[in-house]
């Protein structure tokens, strides 16, 4: 088993459709959250979902990784079609996400939080880990190496052992990105990764997200309100979801600009 996080040696060209959402509708009782939405996401691209408050953006992400189950429509992920997803299946098929409201273990260190993202990569069982015997020990060393690579990538060495609850908001967001990356996802869902940040934190976050896409080739779907944040140097594709309106989102190319 190799736990090296390999950067793809070739430049990541936008590839085939990796995720496609067809005619998805989601309602909670009488409240229609999403109505007949279709779009697709190609491998290695960065796709932003935009729309006004209540448009159903976060619900869309929740549908993709299986937290919500839509009443209508289909989701095709890596060639397999589902009427609904389950979080566990989504995770094992390479989807990782971050949340709008940070969902980290506040009392645990940055290192341990990111380590939780390696959960699915651990092969030893609970008993072995609890007793800290041979294979569990070796495995932890290997997993730690992968986590350290992420710490290095996100430049958070100085807070490695700091409890997450003591960190400023911007750094917590970065740690959450780190935990998502620890799962080595093919598809990364980011729910408002820059909400509530100051200008400098936003710039940093923006750079890290593009670096993740560039370095690991991860496909990224993100929700962001702040349209001022032009995504530097990379092609970003945007699609808009508007509630209650059947809108087959048309991706439009966003001209790369320099901040």
């Amino acid at each position: 088993m190799s736990v090296e996080l390999h950067a793809h040696p070739r430049a990541h060209r936008i590839g085939e459709v990796i995720l496609s959402v067809e005619n998805v509708s989601l309602a909670f009782g009488g409240v229609k959250a999403i109505t007949d939405i279709s779009f697709d996401v190609r491998e290695h691209e960065v796709r932003a979902i935009i729309g006004p408050n209540g448009a159903g953006k976060s619900s869309m992400l929740n549908v993709i990784n299986g937290v919500y189950h839509p009443q209508h429509g289909r989701i095709t992920l890596k060639g397999r079609t589902f009427t609904d997803m389950h979080p566990h299946r989504a995770a094992s098929m390479g989807i990782a996400r971050t949340f709008q409201n940070i969902a980290l273990f506040k009392g645990m260190s940055v290192l341990d939080n990111i380590m939780t993202g390696r959960n699915l990569k651990m092969k030893t069982n609970f008993l072995q880990q609890a007793l800290w015997v041979g294979p569990a020990r070796r495995e932890e060393t290997e997993q730690r190496r992968a986590v350290e690579q992420i710490i290095d990538f996100l430049e958070i060495q100085h807070i490695r052992k700091t409890p997450v609850g003591r960190l400023p908001y911007g750094l917590q967001k970065r740690v959450e990105l780190g935990r998502a990356l620890a799962a080595e996802p093919e598809l990364l869902l980011l729910d408002e990764p820059m909400a509530g940040m100051n200008v400098e934190e936003k710039q940093d976050m923006c750079r890290f997200i593009l670096d993740v896409n560039d370095h690991y080739g991860t496909t990224i779907v993100l929700i962001e309100h702040d349209m001022g944040w032009s995504w530097t140097s990379r092609t970003a594709w945007w699609c808009s979801i508007t509630a209650r309106r059947s809108a087959t989102a048309r991706p439009t190319r966003c001209a790369p600009t320099r901040p």
């Binding site: 430049a11 290095d152 430049e155 560039d214």
Partner: protein, 652 residues
């Protein structure tokens, strides 16, 4: 004990010797992915060999310059040595310099090769490329983000090393042959001094000069290959280079490169260096952190800290100096060491520090004594880029807070009639690169280096630096007047933020003072003194009394120094506004512009010398949004008591 450096007269030759004699001992450690990785001397030598081959294949020849732009990394130091193996000259540049600032050194030295740490540094070099067409090869270390670069100048360090390794396998004797061609009098490195006026100057230092000075200090402190140093200051600064390149090569000790600038404190605790250097501002920041954390500690811990720090203040420094101290105090100190000083040293990462130096600017006596009193052997040294750092070092057992120690081994010192310090030492620089005029001004035909610093020897023959020579004046009676020295003495009080002294050509010294609004504000709150702002607080009678106490204490100190006892401060006034760089009264680095202030506030200066009690002032101020306004106030001038000098008292 100190190593004999015998006929190893260049750094590459020293490297070969260490690889032979202590090949398995650590040379450089770097924290990678959270774990300290060690390069032994043998591995370092192998790396240097490969890089030397690689550089040579790129066309790097004897006498060529290699710019190094980056933080302390093993690879930066390996490349430095590789360049020296080929008879080339490494030129470390400040990694936080703006792109435009890098253009001058590169043009000045005609640098054709550069090693950049990462994308950020590469971007800067590419930006100045149009101005610096001679820069033909840029080697970068960290490959992150570099995939999209296609400039023909770029090569990755890994590719360079791999190519070099292959060449080395084919021709293993090449590097040794090249190293054997090196001589001690060859140029070892070039450092650009931060030119406060005009362009920076490239200081050319030879292998012989650097090795000599590194060895002298190492012998004096008994450094050996078990010592450990944390390399955390910019490699482009000569001091860092001495501590993390010249001295390890001279003695075989190990340097450790921190993970990043933010992790220095943690890394220091993990490594526990035995030899340490910090400029006063770093020491001050550390002390502030400690003080703040003590304020937040529980009542018991606070009480212990206060109790034992007062013991330390009383006897700590004397115990460190090996002077006689009563048994009761010794016991109290030993208990304090167990409960407070030991844990404190541990928190600071200084548990194993045998020798610590500070230099660069005047250090406040309280700050200096704090570290010594908790058992850290902090000492001052004096030197500059042109002297390969070591000119004076305080010897163990006779450390004083206000001198920099006697002349080091091999150093001759003397003063011009204007009090400027001249130095002759084996560590002196060869020249300023391509600047014969500046070289001739700084180094006279007999080999004396004109430092531009003014000072004198105290009664024990320790050098005392008081000011820049050009700022030193004379009072009407001929007494030496060193404004910065007096101002620093005033500024060491927490209540005084800035001070400006006048006295050149006058009969006595007068001073302007800016109070520190936070310190004095706190003091006022404790005294239940209401105030509305700076101007109001500064005009309080009570505050004037507070400042007078400070001034009088400075005067009492000065009375003990016969050379300048007459320059005691007779009158002072507290300025109605804070001196500000926006108003041109301070430089951007917060140094007072004495001449400008004297002119601008001529009325106030005259009033002080005319013996008036108070003076009305109206001043223009520039607000941050660009508008101007004016402040008017009646300033009262205070008289301070002066003391008869110690010499005069003895005579009487």
């Amino acid at each position: 004990m100190g190593q004999d450096i015998g006929n190893q007269d260049t750094f590459p030759k020293l490297l070969l010797r260490h690889a032979r004699e202590r090949g398995a001992r650590p040379a450089i450690r770097e924290k990678a992915l959270g774990i300290w990785q060690t390069w032994t001397w043998l591995e370092l030598a192998g790396e240097v060999r490969a890089i030397a081959h690689g550089l040579s294949a790129m066309g790097f020849k004897r006498g060529d310059h290699l710019a190094l732009v980056g933080d302390n990394r093993p690879r930066i130091y390996a490349a430095m040595c590789a360049a020296q193996c080929l008879g080339g000259i490494p030129v470390p540049l400040y990694q936080d310099a703006a792109a435009a600032e890098m253009a001058f050194p590169i043009r000045n030295a005609g640098i054709g090769f550069a090693l950049a740490e990462d994308q950020e540094q590469v971007d800067k070099l590419l930006e100045i490329l149009p101005d610096c067409p001679m820069l033909e090869h840029i080697v970068y270390d960290d490959t992150r983000g570099m995939r999209h670069y296609s400039q023909p100048q770029l090569t990755s360090y890994d590719a360079l090393r791999e190519h070099g390794s292959r060449l080395n396998a084919a021709d293993p004797g090449f590097v040794e042959t090249e190293i054997a061609k090196g001589r001690g009098e060859d140029t070892a490195a070039m450092f650009f001094t931060s030119g406060t006026t005009g362009n920076p100057k490239g200081v050319v230092l030879t292998h012989a000069a650097l090795i000599d000075r590194a060895g002298v200090a190492a012998r004096m402190e008994g450094l050996n290959d078990t010592d450990v140093v944390l390399a955390y200051l910019p490699p482009a600064w000569i001091g860092q280079n001495i501590f993390s390149y010249a001295q390890p090569f001279a003695t075989g000790y190990c340097i450790c490169c921190p993970e990043s600038a933010e992790t220095v404190m943690t890394d220091m605790r993990e490594i526990g260096p035995s030899y340490y250097f910090a400029p006063p501002r770093v020491l001050e920041a550390l002390l502030t952190t400690v003080s703040i954390r003590m304020e937040d500690a529980g009542a018991l811990k606070r009480a212990l800290y206060r109790r034992f720090m007062s013991v330390a203040r009383r006897v700590g420094a004397r115990i460190l100096d090996g002077k006689s101290v009563g048994l009761a105090d010794r016991l109290a100190y030993a208990l304090g060491d167990l409960l407070v000083y030991g844990p404190l040293r541990n928190v600071l990462g200084m548990s194993r520090v045998r020798v610590a130096y500070t230099a660069g600017e005047a250090i406040g006596p309280d700050l200096f004594v704090f570290y010594r009193s908790i058992g850290i052997n902090l000492k001052q040294l004096y030197g500059s880029t042109e002297t390969s750092v070591f000119v004076c070092i305080q010897p163990n057992g006779s450390v004083k807070p206000d001198t920099v120690g006697p002349a080091g081994e091999g150093v001759e010192l003397r003063f011009t009639p204007q009090r400027e310090l001249l130095i002759r030492s084996p560590g002196l620089f060869k020249e300023y690169y391509r600047n014969p005029q500046a070289t001739a001004e700084a180094k006279d035909p007999e080999g004396w280096f004109h430092t531009g610093d003014a000072g004198y020897f105290d009664a024990d023959g320790h050098l005392k630096i008081i000011d820049r020579a050009k700022d030193v004046g004379k009072l009407a009676d001929g007494t030496l007047f060193a404004p910065k020295y007096l101002e620093n003495k005033l500024k060491f009080f927490p209540y005084i933020k800035e001070a400006v002294t006048f006295g050149d050509g006058r009969e006595g010294v007068c001073a302007f003072v800016n109070i520190d609004i936070e310190a004095v504000g706190n003091w006022a709150e404790k005294k239940n003194l209401p105030y509305s702002g700076y101007t109001d607080l500064a005009s309080r009678e009570e505050v004037r009394a507070l400042v007078r106490e400070c001034v009088e204490q400075v005067n009492a100190d000065l009375a003990g120094e016969p050379e300048i006892a007459n320059s005691q401060i007779r009158r002072f006034l507290i300025l109605h506004k804070e001196l500000d760089a926006d108003d041109g009264e301070l430089t951007r680095t917060r140094k007072v512009r004495r001449g400008f202030i004297a002119e601008r506030y001529a009325e106030l200066v005259d009033a002080m010398y005319a013996g008036r009690e108070s003076v009305h002032v109206e001043a223009q101020v520039k607000y941050e949004d660009g508008r101007t306004g004016s402040i008017s106030a009646d300033l009262r001038i205070g008289d301070a008591q002066t003391f008869a000098s110690a010499a005069a008292r003895r005579a009487a």
